[in-house]
Symmetry: C2
Subunit: 420 residues, 2 copies
């Protein structure tokens, strides 16, 4: 097993096997630049670049790690990402003296994660949200249309998705204001206006696109994964009462567009390879453009924790797994582009709520409480049907290796009261 | 009436009263820069800037017209746009010698429109499409759900909208490839894959956002128009067969995301002021956040023309008007942001299909042919139910003044056959 000279605890999300990319700014000053997380540190790649440690790679001279977003690096494609990853693992390796035995360079290039401000990793041009968990779609469908009509007829034939709002994507740690809007409670005849009364989170995984495709030229499923730079955790905050009133016939709009939170560290697809697994069996067999032979899912443990005002600690309210998703990332990319829609570097695609077959694996409050019928009991005698002001909602995720974890860190956000 | 020393015919869309902004590149070479259209010319604002003709305005020294998009100029806000517009009208005025009597500057600053490549006017961060025509929503609803349930219950209470795809927005003149995708004809039990058989256009108007708003801070309806930089024509190409199969429950996705075309010249809201009119009466009265006292619509004539292979000329197939729209631009902006969603400079909002009460004012083929029941008869014995390969679809629009027009030029695109 590969070890770094940087001490990394077995439960850390950021061993040398991971090396997720992010954009950060030192709290002591300086412009945004690109780094990788290792243990409790961030390694500043712009400093390594200045010191000539990428001079044998394809990024040499490009000053690509001095930029305030990963977009340019993402656009270069998998062979270049692999070159850089290999060089980083070499430089961080416990037996390699270049960085280990160079105190000045170490002092300049490593920051404690507490000493930096972490920013959005990419300029996200377009954000697409899918609906790829069969358990989630079945649960929601059963609540709204009854158990016998839970899944729409199209659901098992294509990965249903819709365009989300890119401007309101925020990085973990950003507070989220409860939205105000129009709703029509079933008990009254006219719509009313006021703060959302049914604020929810959604446990999702997103992936950021590397090289894109030209408009009119689909990405085949065989090549789809070459377009995935890496993965992040996503909380797709949802206002269920606004959603119920607005969503027909064109889909969710203001119920989603007030905020979407993502985790800051982008886990490379290459770091997830040891955890590749087969996804669920698909029946009916998808149309040829969605058929894949290889294993196309990943064993990523997911947890959701809630900490409300007056609670002393985060309380785990959900345990799920990425492998529950019915439609793979590759299938979602192939579908997204099959009509000619062009993806661009930095675009975000997300899975939709990831629920599993067990009750505790339901990935949002609407499912966990079955739309309020079964309130969630929390310590201190508290309970929740929907999110309350002051609630801190945290999603975390990791792959469990033998003695190490490849993790995502977390995406966390606190609910602020609605504007007066 | 204001006149320019540049000759402008009465039927021209681009008199001194208009001065729409665009981004262009001279065919003879050079980088993209910003200009305004006047008669058959483009006036290069970067040249005027270099010659010091904006030195008394707020854009002095900013080199804002040397940029390849209008975004930075848009962000400056209405007072600055008005300053610049006033200076341009002054410089182009028939009595003003500065530019008129300066042959070298005239030779450098004016291009024939045929001598330039016209580009997308803005980096469009997010694109939102509304559904604001009551006639359109009623026609479509009647076709799908019957006349008695034509409008969804929410329709008269809020401007229904959804997120569109920003990456595939193209400028007028770009060919559009017929999309391929999954459909399920009603006569068979399983979905099939192939080229779209029901390709349609949608006649729309869009508006580009100037200054945005902070996330969590809605734009009030009183201030909504201050956020509109200007208007363009939009053709929201639509694959009706793909749409019918995919759109439930999350709305249109691949049926729209393959391409959206816009006209290149952005008509300033200030140029449309003489054509401001009251919109339709709204009943029921909207909730307070959507109530407006002032006239909030504009009298913009709209036409759609089709020219197929083997036709000798464009054939007009639709005559509509922007004033038919039920929900105003201000209402759509106020609604879009009421939950806290942030708009950014360069964002595009569009009206949805603009249909009127008459049969010839229906703004898409689905309505004009009533889903194929009444094929459209064209010259040469041709007819259309949906768009065919080779069809050139052109939308144009203008406001008719006394002896002049404030026009939009056109948005045009030709249908290419599906990829093999």
């Amino acid at each position: 097993m590969l070890h770094s000279f940087i001490e990394v605890k077995p439960e850390s999300h950021f061993p040398i096997q991971n090396l997720p990319y992010g954009v950060f700014r030192p709290l002591r000053g300086g412009s945004p630049r690109i780094g990788v997380a290792i243990g409790e540190y961030v390694l500043d790649l712009s400093i390594l670049d200045d010191a000539g440690h990428f001079h044998l790679t394809s990024v040499a001279g490009k000053r690509i790690f001095h930029q305030p977003s990963l977009n340019s690096f993402m656009a270069l494609g998998r062979p270049v990402w692999q070159e850089v990853r290999k060089q980083l693992q070499h430089l961080l390796w416990i037996e390699e003296p270049t960085l280990r035995d160079h105190p000045e360079l170490r002092a300049a290039a490593f920051f404690k994660q507490k000493e930096v401000e972490i920013l959005l990793p990419a300029r996200i041009g377009d954000y697409t949200d899918f609906y790829a968990s069969k358990d989630h779609a079945s649960n929601v469908g059963a609540m709204f249309r009854g158990k016998d009509n839970a899944l729409m007829p199209n659901w098992t034939h294509l990965p249903v998705g819709y365009h989300g709002r890119a401007s309101s994507i925020v990085v973990s740690g950003t507070d989220v204001r409860r939205p105000t809007g129009q709703t029509k409670p079933p008990t009254i005849s006219e719509p009313i206006f006021g703060p959302c009364q049914q604020l929810d989170y959604e446990l999702e995984i997103g992936w950021l696109i590397g090289p894109g495709n030209n408009q009119g030229e689909p990405i085949s499923i065989e090549h789809a994964e070459d377009h995935i730079f890496g993965l992040v955790l996503v909380n797709d905050w949802s206002a269920r009462d606004i959603q119920a009133w607005e969503y027909q016939p064109l889909g969710p709009f203001l119920s989603k567009s007030f905020a979407t939170s993502i985790s800051p560290w982008v886990v490379p697809l290459d770091a997830l390879e040891p955890f590749r697994v087969k996804g669920p069996n698909q029946n009916p067999e998808p149309l040829p453009y969605l058929q894949q032979s290889a294993s196309a899912s990943f064993d990523i443990n997911l947890e959701v924790c809630l900490e409300g005002d007056g609670m002393n600690a985060r309380e785990r309210i959900c345990t799920s797994n990425f492998r529950y998703l019915y439609w793979s990332m590759a299938q979602q990319i192939a579908h997204h582009t099959v009509g000619g829609c062009n993806l661009r570097p930095g675009d975000l695609l997300a899975s939709g709520t990831i629920s599993g077959p067990e009750k505790e694996s339901r990935g949002c409050l609407m499912e966990l409480t079955w739309r309020g019928a079964e309130p969630l009991r929390l310590p201190n005698g508290q309970q929740r049907v929907w999110l309350e002001d002051g609630d801190q909602l945290t999603i975390t995720g990791w792959c469990q290796g033998d003695g190490y974890r490849v993790g995502f860190g977390e995406v966390s956000g606190r609910v602020l009261p609605a504007m007066k």
